[in-house]
C-alpha cells in the first residue's frame, strides 16, 4: 500500500494523447506507470489505448513501447522476455527488465486468448494487464466476450426483439487461474491503491501475472464523462465487479462489500442499459441482479468468505 504523496510525479504516460475525455484507460495507464520498479518495456495490443497514444509522430509513452498487432500482446511479450534472457546469457544485457503487456478486453478475451494462454502456460516473466471496457470500443462499440448480459453494443443492439447481448461475461480471471500462475487479480481504478499495489505485485512475481482492471468508457458505455471513476466505484459496490486476487490458486477477497448497492444503481447511469428500464425488458434487470448475486457467491465461496 502507498500514499498518493509517495507516488512519483513523473508522468511516463504523458498528456497529449487522444483518448476520449474521461477515458478509464488513460487513468489506468497513468496509474500503472506509477508502480514501476525499474527498467520497463510496454507491449500494447491494438485498441483504444494503443491507437490514441501513438498517432505518428506523437507518442505519450516515455518508456520503450511496442505495438505489433491485435491478438498477440502476450506472444510479443513472450518474445521480448525471451530475448532479454538470451541477451543476458551472452552478457549483452545485465539489467532486469519488466515487461508489461496492455490489452483491452477485445485483444484479450476473444482474439487474444490463445496467445495469452500460451504465454501463461510457458511461464514467461511478464505482467499482463487487461483494461476492460466491456466491448470492442476502438472499432465502434461492438460486443466482446467481456460484454455483460443485456448491454447494447453495435453488434448486440437493443432491438425490439433481442434487448442487447444475450450471452454473459466470461470468467477471465478463472481462465487465467486455471493455468496455475502465481498471481491473477481483478481491480478497479476507483480503488487506486489496490490497483497500484497489485501492479507492483505483478511486476515482482517471477513468472506470469495477470490483472483484470475495469475501465469505464463514456462513449461506449454511454455515461457522462465525469462519472467514470464513480462508475468504477459503483461496479465494485454493487458486487458487479468483485475485487479479488488469486495467488497460486488461493482466492482472496480484497474489497469486501457487506452492504451491496442494487446493481441497477450501477446500470442506470449507463445509456447502454437504458433499454432495460422499460416495461418490456425490465425482467432483464432481475436476470442481471441474479447473475451478480450468483457470481459473487461463487467468488466469495472460493475466497473462503461467507
Amino acid at each position: 500500500m502507498v500514499t498518493l504523496k509517495e507516488l512519483t510525479t513523473e508522468e511516463l504516460f504523458t498528456s497529449g494523447h487522444r483518448l476520449c475525455a474521461g477515458c478509464g484507460a488513460g487513468t489506468v495507464a497513468r496509474m500503472t506507470l506509477k508502480a514501476l520498479r525499474g527498467p520497463t518495456v510496454a507491449v500494447n495490443a491494438t485498441g483504444c489505448l494503443e491507437v490514441s497514444s501513438t498517432i505518428y509522430p506523437f507518442t505519450s509513452w516515455k518508456i520503450p513501447w511496442v505495438h505489433v498487432a491485435f491478438e498477440n500482446a502476450a506472444a510479443v511479450a513472450s518474445g521480448i522476455e525471451s530475448a532479454y534472457k538470451a541477451l543476458a546469457k551472452r552478457n549483452a544485457w545485465d539489467k532486469h527488465v519488466d515487461v508489461i503487456a496492455f490489452a483491452g478486453d477485445g485483444g484479450t478475451f476473444d482474439i487474444g486468448i490463445q496467445a495469452l494462454s500460451g504465454a501463461l502456460e510457458r511461464g514467461h516473466d511478464f505482467l499482463y494487464i487487461c483494461y476492460d471496457n466491456e466491448a470492442y470500443m476502438n472499432t465502434g462499440i461492438q460486443r466482446s466476450g467481456a460484454t455483460p448480459h443485456g448491454a447494447a453494443t453495435t453488434t448486440s443492439p437493443a432491438g425490439t426483439k433481442i434487448p442487447g447481448k444475450p450471452e454473459f461475461k466470461k470468467d477471465f480471471i478463472g481462465i487465467c487461474a486455471a493455468h496455475g500462475i502465481e498471481f491473477a487479480a481483478t481491480a478497479s481504478p476507483a480503488y487506486w491503491n489496490d490497483y497500484i499495489t497489485k501492479v507492483r505485485r505483478g511486476l515482482e512475481v517471477e513468472g506470469p501475472a495477470v490483472i483484470h482492471v475495469y475501465s469505464p468508457c463514456p462513449l461506449g458505455m454511454r455515461h457522462d464523462s465525469e462519472k467514470s471513476i464513480e462508475l468504477a466505484r459503483l461496479a465494485v459496490q454493487t458486487r458487479y465487479w468483485p475485487v479479488y486476487e488469486v495467488e497460486k490458486g488461493k482466492y482472496k477477497l480484497n474489497i469486501k462489500v457487506p452492504k451491496p448497492k442494487p446493481v441497477v444503481d450501477y446500470l442506470k447511469p449507463q445509456g447502454r442499459f437504458r433499454h432495460l428500464f422499460t416495461p418490456q425488458f425490465q425482467r432483464e434487470l432481475d436476470v442481471i441482479q441474479h447473475w451478480v448475486d450468483e457470481n459473487w457467491k461463487r467468488i466469495a465461496a472460493l475466497c473462503g468468505e461467507a
Partner: protein, 95 residues
Amino acid sequence: MSKEAKPGWKSIPIAGILLEPGSAMKYKTGDWRAFKPIVDQKKCTNCLLCWIYCPDAAIIRLEKFVDVDYDYCKGCGVCANECPVEAITMVEEKR
C-alpha cells in the same frame, strides 16, 4: 494551421519508429473542452485524488494545493466529481 511540409521518406526513421519519448506533449488537447474545471485553492486539501484519477495528467501538484494544466485538460469533469470537498467546479468555457 501549420503549412510546414511534412518530412519525406529519406529523413524519418525506418519502420515508423518514434525516437522522442513523450512527444505527444506537443499536441495540446486543451481545445477539446466545453467545460473548464476551476479549483478553489482555499478549499483544496491537497488530497491528490483528482491528480491520480485524471486520465490526461492535467492536474498539477503544487505545494499546498492543485492546479489544472489547461493546455491538456479535456474538461471530462472526473476531478470535479471525485473531489471529496467539492473544491472543483466545472464552468462552461466561453471561447
